[in-house]
Symmetry: C2
Subunit: 212 residues, 2 copies
Amino acid sequence: MNGVEQTELSQLDTICEKAEQIFEGALQEFLVHGYAGTSMDRVATSAGVSKATIYNHFGDKEGLFIALVKRLAQKKYQIFVESHKAELMQAEPAIALRKLANTILDHSMQDQEYLAFIRLVIGESGRFPELAKTFVHNLGKPGIQVLTEYLTNQRYIMIRDPEATARVIIGTLAHYVLLQEILQGKEIVPMERDRMINTLVDLISPNLTSAS
Amino acid sequence: MNGVEQTELSQLDTICEKAEQIFEGALQEFLVHGYAGTSMDRVATSAGVSKATIYNHFGDKEGLFIALVKRLAQKKYQIFVESHKAELMQAEPAIALRKLANTILDHSMQDQEYLAFIRLVIGESGRFPELAKTFVHNLGKPGIQVLTEYLTNQRYIMIRDPEATARVIIGTLAHYVLLQEILQGKEIVPMERDRMINTLVDLISPNLTSAS
DNA sequence: GTCTATAATCGGATAGAC
DNA sequence: GTCTATCCGATTATAGAC
């Protein structure tokens, strides 16, 4: 590389580095305090930059919030959907579903950042409908599609309406996470995770589950 | 009644009337703007009382918010659960479940106040865990219990794990409302409501649904 | 592009009259 | 118990130096 390119790159690095710092700070604050509960002062402090720098990069508070949520929705999309795609597609439903359900629950129930993200998106979905739609587009839709494809192509059992069935599965798991973890219902309405998964598998592929 | 009682009653009425006004104003504001996004000034204006009156009744902003959410959770409990209890308990699952699902979806998907309430409780569940628990106790738990009882006592089909099965049903319906209405996914991931209900009924009681 | 300092406003909460 | 008027800290956003 020559000197000019290095200069340009380091400038670019500096820009991105600041933006990255701001994202990190904003992440902490918005996930914990929500949109209205977060102050730009604390974001600046948490990010280690001045407020003016944030306003230069993102225009205003709303711009920062939107950029952050969209970014998170993409990041979670990669982690969540992409990592599950390979898991399906081969085994019979009783095996594949059990594995899928376990992986989804493993990842989401322990990932406090993810749980806080869900709280944030749902909580702000009335005031930021576009963000909610981005979330559905990046996480809800691909999840349903991948599972629908599996249920459609798999050759072990006949499924009348694969997409609606995929929604039963995902809905059951999502509601389980919502009730137990997000709404803190673990002690009030306890339910072992394996009972949910067994029941789900039994319902979807009753022929294949023996006397378990 | 004598004069004294009348005086006491009218005083009581005045107190309760003010409290009721405050609740109404707070309802509008908190449901639309969330906890941090709501100002006591606007609550006072919306309620038609002065701020000092609110502070006299509820101590501080948090006290008002907690009282309001608990009150709403009880009100929704009465409307929701009590009205559905009678609906089950008699018919065979294919009929009873279809009717239950339709009533739940009818009521929740058009009730903007209820949808906003869900957004609020989930959005604040990280900062107000006790309110989330109250919500689960008053709405989630009774819903699961009523359906579990029905699935347990009904004599038409054998259900291995009624409580887990109840959660599949409720989870599917709740997730449907969440994705389509609360997260505004109607256009992104459209799904006819009857397909969901048919699929659910098919899964729960396959023997009883004919060639529908 | 980034900082410090500041403007302009709004927030929760209260004192004191009635 | 309720109101009006007010305190004062916190908030979003920007101006101006570097």
